[in-house]
Amino acid sequence: MAHSKDSENQRPDLEDSTNVVEAHASLLATGAAQSRERRIEETGMEPVSLWVFLGSAIVLLVGGAVVGAGGKLFNYDPHPTGYVRPEYISDADSGPTIGPIMEALMKRGKNIYTKCSGCHGSSGAGDGGNRPPLANSEWVTGSPERLAMIILNGVKGPIVVDGKTYGADVMDGQGPLTADELAGIMTYVRNSFGNEVGDVVTPEQAAEAIKISNVRAGAHMSADELNANHDKALEGDPIDPSTPVDFETLKPVEASAPAPAE
């Protein structure tokens, strides 16, 4: 026979003896795992339950529908025929281009607020933990300069909002912001989530606030510092929220201009 009974040409195992007979005996003795093994019988011929074929049929249907979505099968032309680009109504260019300044700033603020919704919640209710709500918070509806300082430089240390003290978490400054962006976000938070201040922070006032913040050029604010030197209105003449402005440039447009047909 070509192959010897006991394949000693294999590398010897740790405790292998070179004596053939003994190796043979030990092979049998220690083959416990092998000895308790069972032989595999013939594969059974049980009838296949109907459910398997039913399930497969349903899956086949779904598969067919999916293939259907692929247009003509085996049509190797990469340019699809009969496809027309659907209509996309995007907020950016829908909506009026001239309207009250309140609407213009609210629209800008809404876009920017997506960056604040991570902590203050999409409905301005805070995150229930150590991030304060904006809804009826006196810091938001109170003096605009204080709110501007909070947004531009952030807050550190304990701060009482709507009766509860928050301070475990530090709010980073969200600057730098352009005057339009700051005006937008301040107007938005002061007139949403139930806050009804009703006035508008103009880009000029926002620019003033940015100047004050740059002059201070410090890191996070503290509640007392806010109340001590920033609890006042911003310079710059307030504007009637319903003066029509061009949405793009936020510049007032003389009222007589007929509203462009939408």
Binding site: H3, D6, L27, G31, A32, R38, S56, V59, T114, G118
Partner: protein, 498 residues
């Protein structure tokens, strides 16, 4: 009529043949399992780092080579080529030798080829981390590595094909169909995909299409058949009952063979290539549920009535985990690949969840089942500690369950947020923060499970397992007074065997 003595001598000859086969196989198979387990630990660690970085970009930020863009590809390639392929080689070699009742005569060649494979994988992974990755998903090894892997694959597995061809007794088992199919599908997929993506200069989008096809072909046409082959071997072997239904097995096998090669190109749906290709791929991935149902029913019905044994035997417990994952994979395939859901999950976390469910949830669990059955036979030692096995099982199950649930749910929500084109993009980007954190925690669990597994395997490799006649069985949780008595050496055993 076979007299008593004849059946005794036949049993004796059979036992002797098994022992000889296992002796001849102990070095290559143990090599593949241990080096695979080591690569698995590395892959899971890289997975943990990449997942941690996905939600906190300051974690290990200053290490250039651990940049997220390199850790994620390294994690996946090590999981597939380091662990997946080597575990599959060990299983193929041992199962084919046992099923064709042939000793392995070319251990030396297999070992050298195995070392070459490991060398190729390590050069590849270091290449990726050093920034020489090729930039093709799942083919990120630097371009010179793939021929080396292919050649070493050939010299590892050709001997199993020879054993299959030269086996006597003309009876081929269901497991053998799957193993031979896997043997041939891998080079067909690997060689033709790498030729079309690396060697030929064709259209860049079509190269991306072939790459997407390669990912799903590797899952459905190499890892799936090897895992199903193991399951079809273990279920009848451990319970001593025949496979439930031959026709169902035949139907399941040929369903996989016919449906599998079509799947994959749905990654490019809506893209600039022939429009039918992606939706054909999506349909094929949906139809994978058919072989999944067939196999699931077949295996589970084979084990019906042996619940005590299933919970007690570690290999069966893992195999069942794997088969159930395969059915879940089929259902996920259906769920994620309908045109409506494809719109959301195409470029989202869900794809990663599907792949991890396929590679770890399904293939690896079946591979662990096979390993827990094979290693005591080739090292002639029983597993040292039952707790290691149960820790490994439960941590893997919960870990992978969490990774898959987080990834697929996170992917769906992320996709939905992406489709809302009017909302700000940062809203969609931050949507899956919580799911990333969940995935990180899950990979943390799996790190421990793979460490337990690796440590246990190394002990067995060093021949420090229990020397006893009786298998290490997992204590059945629901009945304390199981016949095996307390932990450790067991007295005479009548019924359950592993």
């Amino acid at each position: 009529m076979v007299t008593d003595t004849d059946s005794d001598t036949a049993l004796q000859k059979d036992l002797e043949l098994r022992a000889r086969i296992d002796r001849s196989l102990r070095h290559p198979v143990m090599f593949f399992f241990t080096s695979g387990a080591a690569w698995l630990a590395v892959a899971v660690l890289l997975g943990f780092i990449s997942s941690f970085k996905s939600h906190d970009s300051t974690f290990l930020a200053n290490l250039g080579f651990l940049n997220y863009g390199r850790v994620y590809p390294a994690h996946l390639t090590v999981l597939i080529y380091g662990w997946g392929c080597q575990a599959a080689f060990g299983l193929i070699i041992w199962l084919m030798a046992r099923l064709s009742r042939k000793e392995c005569t070319s251990v030396g060649v297999i070992l050298t080829a195995g070392h070459l494979w490991n060398f190729g994988v390590s050069v590849g992974v270091l290449g990726i981390l050093a920034g020489y990755g090729s930039g093709r998903p799942w083919m990120e090894f630097p371009a010179a590595v793939w021929p080396l892997l292919l050649v070493s694959y050939f010299f590892i597995t050709i001997w199993s094909f020879i054993q299959f061809r030269c086996s006597e007794g003309g009876k081929t088992y269901v497991a053998q169909w799957y193993l031979v199919a896997a043997l041939f599908w891998f080079p067909w997929i690997y060689l033709s995909a790498h030729l079309f993506v690396f060697v030929f200069n064709g259209h860049p989008v079509m190269a991306a299409g072939v790459n997407a096809w390669f990912k799903y072909a590797l899952i459905f046409l190499f890892f799936t058949p090897v895992a199903l082959g193991t399951a079809y071997y273990l279920a009848p072997k451990v319970t001593g009952r025949p496979v439930y239904s031959y026709t169902l097995a035949l139907f399941g096998f040929w369903a996989l063979a016919v449906i599998g090669p079509w799947a994959g190109m749905q990654k490019l749906a809506g893209g600039p290539l022939p429009q039918f290709l992606p939706y054909l791929g999506a349909a094929a991935t949906v139809l994978i549920l058919i072989p999944a149902l067939a196999v699931g029913v077949n295996i589970l019905l084979t084990l019906r009535g042996h619940e005590a044994e299933v919970t007690a035997s570690p290999s069966l417990r893992f195999t069942i985990g794997g088969i159930v994952s395969f059915v879940i994979l089929g259902v996920m395939g259906l769920g994620l690949n309908t045109p409506a859901s494809l719109k959301m999950t195409q470029f989202s976390l869900a794809g990663y969840g599907f792949e991890v469910l396929a590679i770890y949830g399904f293939f690896s669990m079946c591979a662990f089942g096979g390993i827990y059955f094979i290693v005591p036979r080739i090292t002639r030692r029983e597993w040292l500690s039952r707790r290691f096995i149960s820790w490994h099982f439960w941590l893997s199950l919960y870990g992978i369950g969490t990774v898959v649930v987080c990834s697929i749910l996170g992917g769906l929500f992320q996709g939905a947020a992406q489709e809302a084109y009017n909302a700000a993009w940062s809203d969609a980007a931050t949507r899956n923060y919580a799911y990333n954190v969940g995935t990180t925690v899950a990979w943390g669990l799996i790190i421990f499970s793979s460490l337990f597994f690796l440590l246990h395997l190394l002990l067995m490799w060093a021949r420090l397992g229990r020397r006893s006649q009786h298998p290490t069985l997992l204590k059945g949780d629901h009945h304390e007074d199981s016949p095996h008595g307390p932990d450790g050496d067991l007295d005479e055993l009548q019924t359950a065997e592993a």
